[in-house]
Structures are given as C-alpha cells and as structure tokens.
C-alpha cells in the first residue's frame, strides 16, 4: 500500500459535497416524530416480548407441575414395589395392610359407563323358566377415577365390559 500513499493523500484532500441544511431539518423532524410516536418499532416489539415471556413462564410452570406429579407417582410406585418385595421376603402372608400415609390415599372421584353397542338377541327361555325372556347384550366401556387430594394426582382405570340383561316378557 505504500506505493499508493501519495495518491491516497491526494484523494483524502478531496472533500465530499456537504448535504443541504434542509436535510438536517428533515432528519430532525423525522426523529422528533419518532419520539412523539414513542418509537413505534420499539413499542410494537415490547408487548410481543412480554407475551413471549408470559407464555414461557406459564409453560415452564406447567412442565414443572407435571414433572413433580410424575416424579411423585414414580416414587409412590417404587415404594409400593419395595414394600411388596420386602413383604414377600419377611412376611410371607401379611394379614393386615400397613397403614399408608395420607399422601398415598386416593378417593373415588367418579365413574362412567358408556354403552357403545346394544344388541337385542330375541326371546329365550331360561333354564326351568316357563316364561320367555328377552335377552339384550350391552357392550360398554367402564371408567373409574380416583384422586389424591393431597398431591392432586389422579388415577384412572378403564376397561371394556359386556353385560347381558334378561327382560321378562309378559303375554297378553
């Protein structure tokens, strides 16, 4: 670059044309407008960031809650397994249950019985019965729920069932 130092010096002596004074006024006005509008770009970004933060915190809280419940349930399950194993080793036939602490108590919270199929199988005579009965077969899905009020954990058991109902038929 030393070869060009003289040329660079000459170039630097050249002064670019100055902007018009009007430009300074226009820029000043535009900046004032920005301030008066409280910098719309930044205003628009601020609520977005707060919303993100809020959603993030909410999601984190749900995850922590879920994680806590899961860990407690695992812990309880492990305790049950450990108790069962210990019982098998030391007490071959426990006659009474160990008193469980309140944290492991589940109380019934409800149940549903959903009939998803009902079939009328017609009239039948039961064993030794003189009157015919109408036999109806129900296919249902039964669900029972328990809830631990201490920990908020819930337990749900769901299974399919089949039910046969015999309806006596009276002749006219």
């Amino acid at each position: 670059m030393n070869d060009f130092s003289e040329l660079e010096k000459e170039l630097r002596k050249l002064r670019p044309s100055q902007p018009s004074p009007v430009l300074f006024e226009r820029v000043g006005e535009a900046l004032e407008n920005c301030r008066a509008g409280a910098s719309p770009a930044r205003q628009a970004r601020l609520p977005y960031n707060w919303w993100s933060l809020g959603f993030g915190l909410a999601a984190a809280a749900v995850l922590i809650l879920f994680g806590t419940v899961t860990i407690e349930r695992r812990h309880e399950a492990q305790q049950t397994v450990a108790q069962t194993s210990a019982a098998t080793e030391t007490r071959p036939a426990p006659l009474r249950r160990e008193p469980s602490d309140s944290r492991s108590k589940f109380i019934p919270a409800g149940g549903t019985n959903v009939v998803y199929n009902a079939r009328d199988e017609g009239l039948h005579f039961g064993d030794g019965s003189e009157r015919p009965v109408r036999r109806v077969r129900y296919h249902t899905q039964q669900t029972w729920r328990w809830r631990n009020p201490e920990t908020g954990a819930s337990l749900r058991v769901s299974y399919p069932s089949e039910e046969i109902v015999l309806i006596p038929v009276s002749g006219q």
Partner: protein, 163 residues
C-alpha cells in the same frame, strides 16, 4: 459504543457521517436530492431501531440497500434520465468540493472507475471504514474488498498519469 437511539445530540453524529453517506449513495443515484432522501430514510431507520452507532458496516449496508431499492423502483425514470444524459450535455451534480484543476481531474478519474471499485474506494477514503466493515456493508469478503481497493488505486494512477 454509545447506542445511537440514546444519542440526544444526533446532529453531531449525523454531521460526521452525512457527507460520506451522501457520497456513497451518489455512486448509484445521480440526483443529490434523491440521495439525501435515501440517507435520511436510512439514518432515521437506523436510529429508530436502536442500533449501535459504532456498527458502521450495518449503517452503510442499510444505505446501500435503500439506494438499490430506489434504483429498482425508479428504473423507468433512470432509463429516461440516462437517455436524456446521453443525448444532451451531461449536467453532473458535483460529488466533491474541488479547489483546483488537479482536484477536478482527480474527481473525474474517481467517477470513471467501475462501480464495484468506486464504492470500496468511497467507503475507505471518505468514510474511513476498515476492510472488515466494508466487507460487511457490501456483502463481500475482506480480501475482495482489499483487492478492489488496490485495483481502484491502480486504475486511478493510470488515468492520472501524463500521456
């Protein structure tokens, strides 16, 4: 490293960079008024977005982007101007304040450089950007920026050498 948005005395800041920015824009835009519009837009946007004043590469990249957008938008007018300039005696608005014939010849030699060399020269000489900043502003490598600068100086020397 003062953020430009908190720079209350924007006039000092703008008066420092405005001549160089205008010269940079006028490498693509003939009209000084159009160039001033572009510089105003770029500077105000830069300020509003709270960019760091020391991040000059970003400022020049924004100016260049706006200038190129302007050229695309105004292509029809540019063609009309180019035709008019080709037919009539070209009235070129001055890019430099010249004191004598030597400086006038030097300014003419700069104008005759290819655009890619001229923009690097303008950023280096009259805006004091480093090759790293030039590379960032133009989206090229530092080596390319340095070699374009060397080519520009070589070409200027050839043009200015007495026949």
């Amino acid at each position: 490293m003062e953020p430009i948005a908190s720079h209350e005395n924007w006039r000092n800041c703008f008066s420092e960079v405005a001549p160089g920015l205008l010269l940079f824009v006028r490498q693509w835009v003939q009209s000084a008024a159009d160039a001033e519009d572009i510089v105003q837009d770029a500077f105000v946007k830069f300020w509003r977005r709270n960019h760091d004043i020391s991040n000059r590469g970003l400022l020049y990249a924004a100016v260049r982007s706006l200038a190129l957008d302007f050229i695309r938008r105004d292509a029809r007018r540019a063609r009309r101007e180019a035709t008019a300039l080709a037919e009539a005696e070209p009235v070129i608005e001055r890019q430099f304040e010249v004191d004598d014939d030597t400086q006038s010849a030097l300014a003419a030699a700069v104008r005759s450089l290819p655009c890619d060399q001229r923009e690097v020269l303008v950023l280096k000489i009259w805006n004091d950007l480093t090759f790293s900043e030039i590379a960032g502003a133009l989206g090229i490598s530092q080596n390319t920026a340095a070699s374009r600068y060397r080519y520009a100086l070589t070409n200027l020397r050839k043009t200015l050498q007495p026949q």
